[in-house]
């Protein structure tokens, strides 16, 4: 005797497909909306707190300069993780980049300096690739080891290279040449005027335009081109498809005759090259030369930007701009701007808490509300923020960003997997 119950008719797969297509359509639109919201919020904060420098062209320019090294590190992380290899060693590769830039620029000028930095970064990347791809060492352990080596190599070679040079020392290079800047003739002029007017939103926007068109380093343009180029290569070419398949399903790629080892090796080495470029930018554009420890954790912040950006070039750029802005504001007017930012963060968190309650995530909402309230209280109770605390800004921001990042992040399916050939089927 058998019994039957009516079979369920819903098909969860179909719903997922629907959700996916509707998500794709409005994503571009949603990004513009967020950008506008951020601009309005900052403008509001500027007007309310009187921190006029918060959105000035100077600050925004500093923000871009601070953002690019992070973005380049994040880009390196992207290339590596899209191929399935976690690259914690970006910091070390960036350090090697600063060293290479310092050495080669002093003797041969900025463009050879750039090549030198990229080469040094590539060496670091190749080492990581050797350990993780060829020997299948745990990715994080290898990355940590690379960082240790890089720090030691840089400290040692800095003394060898620079100690005897005029203007230099055991821990820093002499002042170095800067790469050429670009200024767009017409726009730079009137945007500068408009920015000085102090009008709500309009002036802030003008400040942004000015920062993008006046005195822009050629390295910045190059970096932005590379970010766009990465998007095109990885998603619109056969090479990029194969590389991504190594990070999503390496055994599948193997069965289709793809040499997974080769793609991973290339990806990780390229990742080192980008980190090297980031280091070069740091040394030549953001600073006036090489100095021990100048990377200050940007390699890791770049990874955070990449995670925040959901492993996409556009996302990682916005994440980098976020970090860059906090850094730029801090550098320009220290305590005052960071103090104003505190208000923005506080209000933003409280708004987030409200949205989370509406969505039903109660514990997350309580957390956001608590931190937001604490930030608001701190803002109201103080006038400015002491130097030691403003120093922490990028690191605290990183923690906040990672803690609050949505659960809907999707990393490459085989990211971090120790891959060995012949496991298919």
């Amino acid at each position: 005797m058998s019994t039957m119950a009516p079979a369920p008719t819903e098909h969860p797969a179909g719903q997922a497909a629907q959700r996916r297509t509707s998500g794709r359509l409005s994503r571009g639109g949603r990004l513009w909306l967020y950008a506008l919201a951020v601009l309005v919020a900052l403008s509001l904060a500027r007007v309310v707190t009187g921190a006029d420098d918060l959105t000035s062209a100077g600050t925004l320019r500093a923000a871009i300069i601070a953002a690019i090294p992070i973005a380049l590190a994040g880009l390196g992380g992207l290339w590596s993780e899209r191929a399935g290899v976690v690259n914690i060693g970006l910091e070390g590769m960036m350090i090697l980049g600063t060293l290479g830039a310092g050495y080669y620029t002093y003797y041969q000028g900025v463009w050879i300096g750039l090549l030198g930095a990229i080469m040094f970064g590539a060496i670091g990347g190749a080492l990581h690739a050797l350990a993780t791809v060829v020997f299948a060492v745990d990715h994080i352990v290898s990355g940590v080891a690379i960082n240790i080596i890089a720090a030691g190599v840089a400290a040692f070679l800095a003394e060898v290279f620079f100690a005897d040079l005029a203007g230099g020392g055991a821990t820093q290079s002499p002042s170095l040449a800067q790469p050429p800047s670009i200024t767009v003739p017409g726009i730079a002029g009137w945007s500068d005027d408009l920015a000085d007017r102090g009008w709500f939103v309009v002036s802030d926007l003008a400040g942004l335009v000015n920062a993008l068109t006046a005195d822009v380093s050629s390295f910045t343009v190059l970096a932005l081109a590379l970010i766009a180029g990465t998007g095109w290569v990885l998603w619109h070419t056969g090479f990029g498809l194969r590389l991504r398949s190594c990070g999503e399903a390496p055994t599948s790629a193997e069965t289709l005759g793809i040499n997974v080892y080769r793609y991973k090796f290339v990806a990780v080495t390229v990742s080192g090259m980008f980190a090297g470029f980031g280091g070069c930018y740091l040394a030549l554009v953001a600073s006036s030369g090489y100095a021990n420890g100048q990377t200050g954790g940007r390699g890791y912040i770049g990874l955070a930007a990449m995670i925040f950006g959901n492993w996409s070039p556009g996302g990682l750029l916005s994440g980098s701009l976020l970090f860059g802005f906090t850094e730029g504001a801090r550098l320009r007017s220290g305590g005052e701007s960071v103090h104003a930012l505190l208000l923005v963060v506080a209000l933003g968190l409280l708004v987030l808490a409200g949205w989370q309650i509406w969505k039903g995530h109660r514990t997350a909402a309580v957390l956001s509300a608590a931190v937001g309230a604490a930030a608001l209280w701190w803002y109201l109770v103080t006038d400015t923020i002491p130097g030691d605390f403003t120093e922490m800004t990028p690191y605290v921001t990183t923690l906040l960003v990672l803690a609050l990042a949505s659960q809907r992040l999707r990393m490459p399916a085989a990211d971090g997997q120790r891959y060995r050939r012949g496991q298919a089927g």
């Binding site: 914690i88 080492l127 050797l130 350990a131 020997f135 299948a136 060492v137 745990d138 994080i140 352990v141 290898s142 940590v144 080891a145 690379i146 240790i148 080596i149 890089a150 720090a151 030691g152 190599v153 400290a155 040692f156 070679l157 003394e159 060898v160 055991a170 200050g296 954790g297 890791y300 990874l303 955070a304 995670i307 002491p386 030691d388 605390f389 120093e391 922490m392 690191y395 605290v396 990183t398 923690l399 990672l402 803690a403 609050l404 990042a405 659960q407």
Partner: protein
């Protein structure tokens, strides 16, 4: 597999790593116009009695640092924040001891506990972030390192005393100091009394890891998180406990030096120990004994390298290169050796079973 073979395999990786590091270091020196021969000469001179004592002291400190990192590494939890935890803890311990709320030895004991608690709390932040929000502990501990440096600097400025160029916390009263003891007869330099904490911690680590249920679950999570979950291990709780424990041990790192020599936390505190500890842990394969050997070797290298600048005109930073290359080579070598060992074992199993089957066929 025979015990001898197992022993040889266990040593093969580190020995190989040191050979590679030696070669690379020599090549780098040649490349920069320095003399490898002079380097090796300085490095391999028999250390004076005073240097031996310093070496053992430093080794004890490195041991604690390595242990702190290893607790996490055993379950694939990467606590790179030992440096920050060590600073926060040492500051807290020194501050507490300096206030002398309690008399004499009680003060010492309480301060050590305060330091451990502070270290645990700082590490706990990363643990909580990982457990509740899934934030990678690698990034969060590194961020916390940087935050710790700024935070401690700020607090030191607020509560410390300016002495010449440096700022220090209040000096710990002399009745709370821990006396050292003589290691090498005839030498005035002494081994820190609290260096023994390293031994205690090491034994504790070995016992907990291999003989307790908690230790088993920790190692199981490191072997295979999915199998551990299926076996009933609450991985989230494990992550938290592990981070707290790791931070607590990190809190011990500064104690021998604090109570044995400096007696205050100052801006001249030794930096970088947290990172060297990670290297030592990796070199020692996260085992109590391995870390001890690693700590001794790294302490030896650091001690022997300091006169390099004066006697051979070589920047002592070269030793950092050596250390770094050792770490990378050893992790690669461990991987290669362990795979080889696995293959050997599989062949041995197959051979044994084949022999058994043949024996059965004959008997049947």
């Amino acid at each position: 597999m025979t015990a001898l073979r197992r022993g040889v395999l266990a040593l093969a990786a580190p020995v190989l790593a040191f050979v590679v590091a030696a070669v690379v270091t020599s090549v780098v020196l040649l490349g920069t116009g320095d003399s490898p021969a002079e380097f090796w000469q300085v490095l391999l001179t028999v250390p004076a009695g005073r240097n031996i004592v310093n070496m053992v002291n430093f080794a004890a400190i490195l041991y604690l640092s390595g242990l702190a990192a290893a607790i996490g590494f055993r379950m694939n939890l990467f606590n790179i924040g030992v440096e920050g935890q060590y600073r926060v803890a040492t500051f807290a311990g020194a501050l507490f001891a300096g206030q002398a709320f309690l008399p004499g030895a009680l003060n010492t004991v309480a301060s050590v506990l305060v330091a451990m608690a502070a270290g645990a709390a700082w590490a706990g932040i990363a643990g909580v972030l990982r457990v509740t929000r899934g934030v990678s502990e690698v990034i969060s501990t590194i961020m916390l390192n940087a935050i710790a440096l700024s935070l401690v600097a700020y607090l030191l400025r607020r509560v410390g005393n300016r002495i010449g160029q440096t700022i220090e916390t209040d000096e710990i009263p002399s009745n709370a100091w821990v006396p050292g003891f003589s290691l090498v007869p005839g030498e005035t330099a002494e081994l820190y009394g609290l260096a023994l904490l390293a031994v205690v911690a090491g034994v504790g680590f070995a016992v907990v890891l291999n003989r307790t249920r908690f230790g088993f679950e920790l190692r199981a999570t490191g072997y295979s998180e999915s199998a551990a979950i299926a076996s009933g291990v609450d991985v989230k709780r494990m992550v938290l406990y592990s981070m707290l424990l790791s931070g607590a041990v990190a809190g011990l790192i500064g104690m021998p030096e604090l109570f044995g020599a400096s007696h205050a936390y100052g801006s001249t505190i030794q930096t970088g120990i947290g990172f060297t500890g990670i290297a030592v842990a990796l070199l020692g394969r996260n085992t109590p004994l391995g870390i001890a050997v690693g700590a001794l070797i790294f302490a030896y290298l650091a001690q022997q390298a300091s006169p390099l600048g004066i006697t051979a005109g070589i920047s002592p930073e070269i030793i950092l290169v050596t250390q770094g290359v050792v770490v990378l080579s050893v992790v690669i070598a461990y991987e290669v050796v362990s795979r080889y060992r696995s293959r050997l074992e599989q062949s041995a199993v197959a051979a044994a079973l084949e022999a058994e089957r043949r024996h059965e066929e004959v008997a049947a």
